[in-house]
C-alpha cells in the first residue's frame, strides 16, 4: 500500500466532503449536503470525525433569517487530501504501467 494513502480519509463520505471543500475557503452545510447527496445527520457525523482529526474547521454564524454552518479544510486537511489524491494517482498509474508491459514485450 502507498505510504501516503490515508485510510481515515478514504471513507467515501469523508473523501467526498474533503473534495467539495478543497477548491473553496468556506462551504455552506446545505451546499455540502446537496453536493454529496447525504442527510444532515450523516454529514454532521462525518464533519465531526474530520474536525476531531484536525482536517476540518466548522463555523456557525447567525444570519437574520437562519443559523448557518460553514466548513473549511485546515492546512493539515488540505495537505492530507493532496497526499491521498497523489497516492490514488500513483496506484492508477502503476496499474497502467503493468497493463502496458505485455503489449510492449
Amino acid at each position: 500500500m502507498d505510504p501516503q494513502f490515508d485510510e481515515f480519509l478514504h471513507v467515501p463520505a469523508r473523501l467526498s466532503i474533503v473534495a467539495v471543500l478543497a477548491p473553496a475557503d468556506w462551504v455552506d452545510f446545505g451546499f455540502l449536503r446537496d453536493a454529496i447527496g447525504t442527510s444532515d445527520s450523516a454529514l454532521s457525523k462525518q464533519l465531526s470525525a474530520l474536525a476531531d482529526a484536525g482536517y476540518v474547521i466548522v463555523r456557525k454564524s447567525q444570519d437574520k433569517r437562519a443559523r448557518r454552518t460553514y466548513a473549511q479544510l485546515t492546512p493539515q486537511g488540505r495537505e492530507a487530501f493532496v497526499r491521498h489524491a497523489a497516492a490514488l494517482e500513483r496506484i492508477v498509474a502503476l496499474a497502467r504501467t503493468f497493463d502496458k508491459q505485455p503489449a510492449a514485450e
Binding site: 477548491p23 468556506w26 462551504v27 446545505g30 489524491a85 490514488l88 496506484i91 502503476l94
Partner: protein, 157 residues
C-alpha cells in the same frame, strides 16, 4: 486498494470539485448580480452631466449599488473563496474597459447625435447606456475568464 477503486475515487473527487467550482463561477456572474452591477454603472455614469446635488446623489447611489451587490452576494454565498490576484486585476481591467466604452459612447453621442454636455439626455446618458449594455453583453466572456481563474486556483488543492 485495487486500481479500479482508485480510479473511481479520483473520478468522484474531480466531479465533486467541479460542483464547487461551478457554484463559485455561477455565483460570481449570476444574471441578477450582473444586472444590478450594470444598473449601478449606469446610474454612476449617467449622473456625471447632472447638476449638483443630483450628480453627487447619482454617483453615490450608483457606487452603493455596485459595492452593495458584491458584498451581499459574497456574504450569502454557499461557497466562499478568496479571489486570486489575477482575478482582482481582471476585474480592474474590466472596469477600465467599461470606463473607456463610456468615453467612446459619450464622444459618439456628441459627434453623431449632437447630444448636449449637460442635463438628463446628455452625452453622459448615452455613454452610460452603452457602458452598462457592454457590461451585460460581456458577462458570458467574463464568466469564461472567471472559470479559468477558478480552475487555476483549484490546482493548489
Amino acid at each position: 486498494m485495487n486500481p479500479h477503486d482508485a480510479q473511481s475515487s479520483l473520478e468522484d473527487i474531480r466531479r465533486l470539485q467541479e460542483t464547487t467550482k461551478n457554484e463559485i463561477v455561477r455565483r460570481s456572474f449570476a444574471m441578477p448580480r450582473v444586472i444590478i452591477v450594470a444598473l449601478g454603472l449606469f446610474v454612476t455614469f449617467a449622473s456625471i452631466d447632472l447638476e449638483t446635488p443630483w450628480r453627487l446623489i447619482g454617483g453615490a447611489l450608483g457606487l452603493f449599488l455596485y459595492v452593495a451587490v458584491g458584498i451581499v452576494y459574497e456574504y450569502r454565498a454557499s461557497v466562499q473563496r478568496q479571489p486570486i490576484i489575477q482575478e482582482v486585476l481582471y476585474h480592474g481591467a474590466v472596469l477600465i474597459g467599461i470606463c473607456m466604452i463610456f468615453g467612446v459612447g459619450r464622444t459618439l453621442a456628441f459627434a453623431l447625435l449632437d447630444a448636449p454636455a449637460h442635463g438628463l439626455m446628455s452625452q453622459a446618458m448615452f455613454g452610460a447606456i452603452l457602458a452598462s449594455l457592454a457590461y451585460v453583453a460581456t458577462a458570458p466572456v467574463n464568466r469564461l475568464v472567471m472559470r479559468s481563474f477558478v480552475q487555476q486556483g483549484g490546482r493548489r488543492s
